[in-house]
């Protein structure tokens, strides 16, 4: 409203002069000077408007960014300061002399001892093997001590898919297993996927083409569900995830493992 007044006050005398029409020459001069005056702000105004708009845009962006940063980063920090700290009493001698306190502490200590014994009993004193499928390493333990470690190969995580939508996923199972059987000079009976993978026709179940000699190394230890710990002719792949689910080892490691683990020995795979 104030602006309106000022503008109206500024325009009124001009209108009055024009309506009187007394001095045309002077009027012309006045009109000329008015034009010049009105042109001056016209050249400065766009620049001013541009900078003002730019300023407003920059300010808006800065404010928006600050708000986002405040919500994303400051509010979570504020969360952490919002609840009061509860102090614990420490070394209260008076309390430590209390019979009830002593009884509670002794009960707790006994409980801890009992639980520790129970927990430690889970780790077998007998031999067991740990297979790390992520790093493709194995660790052999006897009497809770590491006696051998080395590289192995585990499942490749490849999913073999046929055009008929048959699928096989080649991964080593994880969890707790045990040795079901031990074999020397094992023979590999090729499963269906082995033929599908090569593009060969699948032979009948007991066809001679299914049997391959010498590819599993000198020994094999069965861990159930058809999975084996065995040797390999592809020694350069040890330490890499390349198998169809079995655990492959080099000849020396396999021999030690075969001689150390018995039927029933635990196999931990992760």
């Amino acid at each position: 409203m104030e602006n309106e007044k000022i503008i109206n006050e500024g325009t009124q005398p001009e209108n009055e002069k024009n309506s009187a029409g007394t001095n045309p020459v002077n009027d012309e001069n006045i009109n000329m000077s008015d034009k010049a005056l009105s042109q001056k702000p016209k050249t400065g105004k766009p620049l001013f408007t541009f900078f003002r708009s730019l300023f407003i845009i920059i300010c808006s962006i800065l404010i928006t960014c600050s708000l986002i940063l405040y919500i994303l980063y400051v509010v979570p920090v504020l969360n952490e300061f919002s609840h009061r700290q509860k102090s614990e009493t420490t070394n209260n001698q008076e309390l430590k002399k209390d019979l009830l306190y002593k009884k509670q502490i002794s009960l707790l200590t006994k409980d801890i001892q009992r639980l520790s014994l129970k927990f430690n009993a889970y780790t077998s004193g007998q031999s067991y093997i740990v297979v790390n499928t992520i790093e493709n390493r194995f660790f052999l333990y006897t009497n809770k001590k590491l006696i051998r470690e080395g590289f192995c190969s585990s499942g490749s995580y490849t999913m073999l898919q046929t055009s008929g939508n048959k699928k096989w996923i080649f991964k080593t199972p994880k969890g707790k297993y045990w040795i079901h059987g031990k074999t020397t000079n094992p023979v590999w009976k090729r499963p269906d996927w082995s033929f599908v993978e090569e593009g060969s026709p699948i032979p009948p179940k007991d066809d001679f083409s299914r049997y391959e000699y010498g590819v599993l190394g000198d020994y094999a230890l069965a861990i159930g569900d058809g999975y084996l710990i065995h040797g390999t002719i592809y020694k350069r792949f040890l330490g890499m995830p390349v198998t169809h689910g079995c655990v492959r080892l080099n000849d020396e490691d396999l021999k030690v493992i075969f001689n150390t683990l018995n039927i029933g020995s635990k196999v931990y795979i992760f």
Binding site: L72, P76, S82, H83, I105, L115, S124, T158, M159, Q161
Partner: protein, 266 residues
């Protein structure tokens, strides 16, 4: 024309002031609601796990606040959790924040040990009602969600060849690829375990960490905004943030089942 333009200015100013006021009020409201959320969470934990102090004598209440007692109680709770998990044949994780170790265990056998490089926990877990937090930690947590920069199972699909002429032998896998490893394990009860790789040497590692962190913050903020909009206090997630060597972080993430269990010693 000039009169018209100038007439709009006061309107603009008013709009601007109103807008700023609305935003300011909302920010204050959002901040207050967010600050209430940890208090609510602590109350919820107290109600669920806390000892009924009214029923306890003065000495018993003082015992519950004693540090020696609480330390033993923590140890017992951790052992109990580990035993509960050991009874299952599943793979599980134990986090010992006191000695900065993260172990993978199967049936009570430690199969992998990792040393944490840094540990940061939310204040609720550190200084909240000791007894209630301890009781909460006495039972193992179960993973309900996981957000990660790596796949749980890096499955590659291979189409079977139609005949032997199409068969190509497998090539040696490229083990030099080191993808950034950052993940969040969200537990039942709302606790979150953030695992970040320790190595942030390469720019790609830093960028991955930053984008992962921003995504998490955006996800959190969005859910908080949705709750605040309907006048509800946002959910607070007590957290444990740890930094591990990349390989250890990867091993833990891939080894633990999708809904695996975790025990925490605080």
């Amino acid at each position: 024309m000039e009169t018209e333009i100038d007439n709009k200015k006061p309107g603009r100013k008013v709009t601007f002031i109103v807008l700023i006021s609305i935003i300011s009020v909302f920010i204050i409201y959002y901040s207050v609601m967010s600050m209430i959320s940890p208090v609510r969470k602590l109350e919820q934990i107290k109600n669920e796990f806390g000892a009924k102090t009214a029923e306890k004598s003065d000495v018993e209440q003082r015992i519950l606040m004693d540090s020696t007692y609480l330390k033993l109680l923590k140890e017992k709770a951790f052992l109990q959790s580990r035993i509960v998990m050991a009874e299952t044949d599943s793979i599980y994780l134990t986090l010992n924040l006191a000695d900065s170790t993260a172990n993978i265990e199967i049936s009570g056998v430690v199969v992998h040990k990792a040393k944490m490089k840094s540990v940061k926990t939310s204040k609720i877990l550190k200084t909240g009602n000791g007894n209630a937090i301890l009781s909460m930690l006495a039972t193992p947590f179960t993973i309900s969600h996981a957000f990660a920069t790596i796949k749980k199972e890096p499955v590659m699909i291979k189409m079977a060849p139609k005949d032997t002429s199409e068969y190509k032998p497998d090539i040696m896998p490229d083990t030099s690829i080191t993808e950034p490893v950052n993940y969040i394990l969200e537990m039942n009860g709302g606790i979150r375990i953030y695992v970040y790789q320790e190595e942030n040497v390469k720019l790609s590692d830093k960028m991955s960490h930053l984008s992962f962190d921003i995504n998490d913050r955006l996800r959190d903020t969005w859910s908080a905004l949705k709750r605040v909009a309907v006048l509800k206090v946002p959910e607070y997630h007590p957290f444990i943030k740890i930094r591990l060597p990349r390989t250890d972080a990867k091993i833990i993430f891939r080894a633990i089942p999708k809904n695996g269990q975790i025990a925490v010693f605080n």
